[in-house]
Subunit: 716 residues, 2 copies
């Protein structure tokens, strides 16, 4: 009785007093058990001195005393009197006390914006640690960083850190609806309890802000890009104001999604034409109203003329007309407009891959200076692997904001362990060749190739009201990774995984070696069992849960998986070369050339750009069909391997999280088999080739897989 | 800046390490701080001896060691060797070890079913506490009861307790949909994460089962009475099985709601006619399938021919035909059918109050022996105050199950502090006069008036996935009260409040005096500011949030508030006497007589049964209009008083819960003012009388209140 066993494992190991429920994320401050280390830390952190008085500084002090008390086991309180004796000092450069005592000892010239420095210095023969910044928020970031050094058991003997954010806007986009459903949300429902706002302030709002500040996230769009104008009405703006008040001390600005047709829907105008004066005035008044409530309101995120959303094209205007009209409304208050480039049309027979580029490229230079264009990492839609979007590098006069998806819409949703930093990094390190070799996507978005005055990265959030925030305990690492990379895209995936694992689970090296390796492989494994060799968009309809490569009957051609894989008796893949859709023509010549030639195109992208015959010889000598079988089988097998690795890590953590992840890995394995069998059995109807005999043959029919229905799958 | 202050209160008092988030409900086992008491307990609880080995006994042991370790601060483990030395022993009567050692010392004859006894005995000069039962589940109940004695700081010197449940079925009805929305749910979304079941077992399922077992709840219907046939399909039954496996050791049976038309919807039959053999066979097969997965499956809860749900009347059959057909299917497995009497028809012009009685009274004696008819406490729908349902006492041959609503659909939902035990008790203690004076509703449902072979009480659950389970911290008390009253309806509301407050908050007498008084008044206060003097069904449409007595345009006449209050230039109220609808004719003569005469009818029920002129003289000499004003104003004023009382209780608890409740009381006050103003301004349009000058006059217009819209109010 397998179930019964699991039941008893859970029952007999849960500490009912304080269960480890995953709520605490990575800012957790349990007492350090390594005594030698603890003693070193204790002398360094006793009675820290914090200069300043602002709301942010108060938040910093509270975090510091809680954290240091927890980590050290002492009752740490902030020292308010004797700066000269304190071994640990926090202050911003303009603070008189800081100037008096330390301005000659710390070089702050390298700090930019909300950056910070952490230095070990010797003053009058006494070792001291000084955390310094130019802004209060920078100091808060420095405090979190200092704490993470203790959490991750780093030496604090010779600290010499200076770091500043490489991107100005480090953001989360919540696709949360006002009824608390979350589009592509797999961790319960929306955090925002709109009904009880503005009076009731859920403690989670605070802990959400803390977690964000700890990784440098400084902006959040609260609402779904498929927007609802109701959020712009007075009662809802009062609720938004209450959230903004909570987030402000943590340096987080609030954005809202703006429904383009709001002037009609809630403003009683007859049109939303961006060139109509009444429309411009309506948005001007609306901005004025919002800023009177929320003086530091960030601005609007807009999805327009995309997947049924209204937009300027409804009035024969273009995206720049729409964006600039809104930009005018928020400009007096230093607000910005983030206009999404995720557009494609069912009336346009052209390869969906090419449509956003075509719509936007002509508008470069036409946007007002407070407009950013937000571009998804790839041209289709957050696939497990996707070549970088051709717009990166192609719009020198338009600040492009990176849009990644943290919520795993196409990567196993909340039941699969998939660490996304390698996916993010793969895109960021891709070379656009916009200004010759080395013009990576990261250098595009951080403004070092084209001098963008606005820079940013956003992640579509994976956060819901599940107690552990993200559904899968490991999904927390993707929230963490997005924040860390938005701050510094040069960080390696390994380092980010290591930090997160240490803070969230354990500093034990055996644990770290195994768990980190598992994380680092996980995305590639998911690609293998779902969409290997450049396949894409094979998922089921609507909820996008599980495989359905056979779907061909949806009203819009580009919603059907068959549109993308184009399997036939000859072979499989989407020819995007000059002999096909010529989507490759949108890339710079070096990139185009690399991908256009089947011999130079990396095999991981092969079927993305080429229709390849079933018996095409891969570099390893296998036929394409055999390689496809190899990838699907290997991917599933590697999930089984992850299960075995995980089972060996029981000793390193609480039973609750260990068992949760164990159960989730079982689901992942079941789903990997499902993907493998369903895809291979279906593609086999074209290839007419056998699955190599060495593999365990599917024992379930294609018809069975086709018959599966999930009417209540989440996130739809 | 009020908001900012609140923010800082929250920030600077939250212990980020382990916040008091309300998750632990009442089975919380923090160390007892009263040293004298602690020392007494310590000697009594060290190394308890538990006889038995079943899954339930293992659960008992785990709860016991966790609880006693927590409460005592010692590391308590169960003694497995020396029963003769143990000061605390748990065993069931049939256990050989129990027979050998204690059968002559404990009298178990008074224990019935899953009851238990707790006795302090002297054996060979040594004081010992023996918890005994006839069943493992009874022993688990006894263990929880023993623990509650420690939690509530009772003396355990001279224990002499014997108690057995007065009702066999002690149940929760979850109105949870498969998409995790909850009809009339105000605490987030459904606990049941159907998508991840059956593989992923959320820890909450265990804690839910623990909480239920601790108060004797032994049955749960997982799904909404507005049923979805999909839950009866194979994939969902596997999920239900997983939940049943978790609940089984805690003595909890699982029920499902059965959609009457399921044979058509998922069985591909052309009819769901209960007298059709194919239909009977389909249900027989379905029952067989379910019981093969869940051998102790409880049975089906059915809402049929009510508010649009399909039922036997679609085929010109009656409720007994439908119920008996299903009862036949589950009878071989000892399953039961719980058939709801909540029916009314928009084609029937008769007073809605009378329709259920009329439909069911003729069927008394027609139901199979494994059918219960589930009757709401009142004839309309869970109003803040409602006279008991005329069916109680009127069906001597049909076991009637009590249906209360724990979720506060009409009592402020999850933002108002309303303790419901007084409402439950008011109904239970009402005299039906079915067999002369003293034939209370409680004696009807417990089978002491009519010899029912099945007895039970259910509560429509107020549980969701909010971290604190019920939205409002005090709403937990209503879950607790339902369980306690289902076990023993003779318990007083005061005692239940006292137990719950002590376990959940504090044993401090000052705290208890104030908080208990607040709870005990709270339901009456809500009646005063929403539906005083027998008014009912004045709420807004659909979501039922807030007042809308003016609504008159809904398609079904009995959905409109005007149908119920019948305010006109003469007066207000529903004449249900012989000169009106004669709903009173359905009650036994003594009751009818009491309520039919305006002079003997309690004023709290006056407008429920009578249309009364605006200048009718109340017993206190006020006119009806002035009394109405007095009630509404007093109710709102008393909420302000609750706020003041609460503010004085800060010292007795953690800041998190204190502040949460403080914010919620502010919402409650705002809503009380809203109810007061909206109702009085509206009724004033009929009475044409002034609100007495001594009261602060409404500063908001009736038109404003009428204009309010809440498109995303929860639970709809």
């Amino acid at each position: 009785m397998k179930k019964t066993n699991l039941f008893f494992i859970l029952i007999f190991t849960t500490n009912f007093l304080f269960a480890e429920d995953g709520y605490r994320l990575w800012p957790r401050y349990d007492k350090i058990s390594n005594t030698a280390l603890l003693n070193k830390y204790k002398t360094a952190v006793v009675n820290p001195f914090v200069l300043g008085e602002s709301a942010t500084i108060q938040v910093l002090k509270q975090e510091l005393t809680n954290a240091l008390s927890g980590l050290s086991g002492m009752n740490v309180v902030c020292n308010n009197s004797t700066i000269s004796a304190a071994p640990l000092i926090f202050g911003i450069a303009s603070n008189p006390g800081f100037i008096k005592n330390f301005s000659d000892k710390i070089n702050l010239t390298e700090i930019i914006g909300d950056g910070y420095a952490i230095n070990s210095v010797n003053i009058q023969g006494k070792k001291r640690i000084i955390v310094a910044a130019k802004t209060d928020i920078g100091l808060l970031y420095g405090a979190f960083r200092f704490l993470s050094h203790l959490q991750t058991h780093q030496s604090i003997e010779t600290l010499n850190i200076v770091t500043s954010p490489l991107l100005k806007l480090r953001m989360l986009n919540h696709w949360d609806n006002l009824d608390r459903t979350v589009e592509r949300g797999y961790a319960g429902f929306s955090l925002w309890d709109w009904h009880k706002l503005p009076v009731y302030i859920d403690n989670r709002y605070l802990d959400y802000a803390r977690a964000n500040a700890s990784i440098g996230i400084n902006a959040v769009a609260l609402t779904n890009v498929n927007a609802n104008a109701t959020v712009l009405t007075k009662p809802y703006l009062e609720k938004v104001k209450a959230l903004a008040n909570v987030f402000r001390p943590y340096g987080i600005k609030v954005f809202l999604t703006a429904r383009f047709s709001a002037p009609v829907e809630i403003g009683r105008l007859k049109t939303a034409d961006p060139l109509d004066d009444a429309v411009q005035n309506w948005w001007n008044d609306k901005a004025k109203e919002i800023y009177s409530l929320i003086p530091d309101f960030g601005g609007f995120v807009v999805k327009a003329n995309s997947e049924g959303q209204p937009g300027p094209q409804n009035y024969n205007r273009n995206h720049a007309d729409g964006a600039n009209m809104m930009a005018g409304a928020v400009a007096p208050y230093n607000g910005i407009i983030i206009w999404r480039a995720f557009v494609y049309s069912n009336e346009n027979p052209e390869d969906r891959h090419m449509q956003a580029y075509k719509e936007f490229i002509a508008l470069d230079g036409k946007f007002k200076s407070n407009v950013m264009v937000q571009v998804k990492n790839g041209a289709i839609d957050f696939q497990p692997r996707e070549p970088f979007h051709p717009l990166f590098g192609a719009m020198p006069k338009t600040p492009l904001m990176m849009e990644f998806q943290i919520t795993q819409e196409y990567l196993g949703q909340a039941t699969n362990l998939v660490y996304l930093a390698p996916l993010f990094k793969e895109c960021l390190e891709s070379d656009t060749y916009a200004k010759g070799k080395g013009s990576t996507v990261s250098k595009i978005i951080d403004g070092s190739i084209h001098p963008y005055s606005l820079t940013g990265m956003t992640g579509v959030a994976n956060i819901g009201n599940d107690i552990n925030w993200c559904g899968h305990p490991f999904a927390q690492s993707n929230w963490y990774a997005l924040g860390r990379l938005a701050w510094n895209h040069k960080l390696s995936s390994e380092q980010i995984a290591d930090e997160w694992l240490r803070m969230t689970y354990s500093n034990n090296e055996s644990f770290l070696n195994a768990a980190s390796k598992m994380m680092m492989q996980s995305r590639e494994i998911t690609v293998q069992y779902s969409t290997p060799i450049g396949l894409h968009h094979l998922m089921n309809t609507g909820h996008h849960y599980g495989p359905a490569p056979w779907v061909s009957n949806l009203s819009r051609p580009e919603w059907n998986p068959v549109y993308y894989h184009k399997a036939d008796s000859i072979g499989i893949g989407f020819n995007r070369t000059a002999t096909g859709s010529n989507a490759l023509g949108q890339y710079f010549p070096e990139t185009r050339k690399l991908w256009e030639d089947q011999n130079t195109c990396e095999e991981k992208n092969l079927l993305w750009f080429h229709h390849v015959s079933w018996n095409y010889k891969m570099k390893n000598g296998k036929t394409l069909w055999d390689e496809l079988c190899y990838q699907y089988y290997t991917g599933a097998e590697r999930v089984k391997n992850m299960q075995q690795v995980w089972n060996g890590l029981k000793e390193f953590m609480d039973t609750e999280r260990f068992e949760q992840i164990k159960m989730l890995l079982q689901i992942q394995y079941n789903e990997a088999i499902w993907w493998r069998n369903a895809c291979l059995l279906y593609f086999q109807t074209f290839s007419k080739l056998p699955i190599p005999a060495k593999y365990e043959q599917p024992d379930i029919t294609l018809e069975y897989y086709k018959s599966l229905r999930f009417p209540y799958a989440p996130g739809n």
